[in-house]
């Protein structure tokens, strides 16, 4: 998503925040319906109303009806303005809803042909339909990998559209985060090994059960683990020194009424300038994007949404060239 970099990386200055014309253009609403402009007008109207009321009140204190009339007129004007603002917000909300619905429909429609293609490639690669030459197998593998990337992107877009339409179903229950993390470490060990990364698990004694949707939390840990492994032992931009061998660790401990899960790595780290954007949709850090074309930049946004829905917190500490630790907390179960 190189094209979207400008939108997400530039912090909005105070001047651009009050640049009504550019803000209105951004939302694609008529000028008279632009929330920024309307708020500005409303603010000015309130100040004018106060001053006018004061002036008229002091000038015509023998004629209170005039003062009441003027205040009433200004109140009516402010009410109309507030109504228009509400309408414009509703329109923006509706546009956003339609966008999410559109993404959802398109994603579903894309899934079918993608599945067909993936299965056809699998069938051809299996050799059931005839012998495949080595050179052909090589290209079939590339085709399969790219299809899987597209499927992953479609799946992430669907999750995002569900989050935005508040349709992400949560089935909360008590479960052992420790068991889940342990199982995932076993599952990810071969992937880590193939990337020359050592994967470890550490946990305090007697970690209590947490309360959330285990299916969603599984996705969060998978995502964090996958990122850590992927961006450890990775050729960073200005990294000429010989790197120590890759290491990723999951650590679990209790903290008050929560369980905190940390996924630490000694990977390429996140550049300081990129850190504040890391949970934004479609954002990918500069040092990663330069060397890794794949990746949608949706994973961490999804993680954050899931953890916040679970009444937990998520964050990270990172230093470029040294490593990153992502952490999240989940509330301990009621029992």
């Amino acid at each position: 998503m190189a094209g979207s970099k400008k939108n997400y990386q530039m912090p909005m200055s105070l001047a651009s925040r009050f640049n009504v014309i550019s803000q209105c253009k951004k939302y694609g609403v008529p000028f008279w319906q632009c929330p920024q402009l309307l708020f500005l007008v409303m603010g000015v109207a309130i100040i004018v109303a106060m001053i006018t009321t004061y002036i008229i009140g002091t000038m015509y204190d023998s004629d209170p009806e005039t003062v009441v009339f003027v205040v009433l007129m200004l109140t009516v004007f402010l009410l109309i303005l507030a109504y228009v603002i509400t309408q414009s917000f509703e329109r923006l909300a509706e546009t956003n809803r339609l966008k999410s619905e559109f993404v959802s429909i398109v994603s579903h429609q894309i899934r079918s042909p993608l599945t067909n293609l993936k299965w056809i490639v699998e069938l051809l690669m299996s050799g059931i339909l005839g012998k495949i030459e080595d050179k052909q197998t090589e290209y079939f593998k590339i085709l399969k990998e790219n299809l899987e990337r597209m499927q992953e992107l479609v799946s992430e877009l669907l999750t995002v559209s569900r989050i935005e339409a508040t349709k992400l179903v949560f089935k909360c229950e008590e479960f052992s985060l420790e068991n889940m993390a342990r199982d995932l470490v076993v599952e990810f060990k071969p992937i880590a090994k193939s990337s020359n990364v050592r994967l470890d698990f550490e946990a305090d004694k007697d970690i209590p059960q947490v309360y959330s949707d285990p299916f969603q939390i599984l996705q969060v840990i998978e995502n964090l683990l996958y990122n850590s492994i992927r961006y450890t032992n990775f050729p960073a931009a200005n990294d000429t020194k010989e790197r120590e061998s890759g290491k990723v660790t999951i650590n679990l401990r209790r903290k008050g009424n929560t369980v905190i899960c940390e996924v630490s790595d000694n990977g390429i780290g996140i550049p300081d300038r990129d850190q504040k954007f890391i949970f934004q949709k479609f954002f990918r850090a500069d040092n990663v994007r330069r060397y890794q074309a794949s990746g949608s930049g949706l994973g961490l946004y999804i993680c954050k949404s899931i953890i916040e829905r679970s009444k937990g917190k998520i964050g990270f500490t990172s230093k470029e060239g040294v490593g990153t630790t992502f952490w999240f907390t989940l509330p301990i179960g009621p029992k």
Partner: protein, 127 residues
Amino acid sequence: MQKNILVIDDESALQKTLGEFLRTQNYNVISALDGELGIALAREKKPDLILLDLVMPKKNGFEVLKELKSDMATKIIPVIVLTNLSEMADIDKVLELGATTYLVKGDHALVDILQKVKFTLGEDDLG
């Protein structure tokens, strides 16, 4: 003896690929490209297993499943729902209607489908 599998799905490309693959695994595959034909073939052929899509013309998968499970002749045939819908509400609904299992097409390779088919037919003890 070859077992019969009825695939009810309106995607002809999928019918061809999945059918071809299952035939190479020694199954007899019957295809139905819409829900109505699917119900008719289920009643007529009494397959050992049905693979059912949900979004289809004439009758959708939910209607097909409901009809199959309310008919004494087809009630006992196991049904694996094979679809690209992945909403929890859809999963809950088809399991409630009596489907044996629910698989999101995009999340599974052909060999995974084969494993589920074998398990459902009692030919493999791995789920």
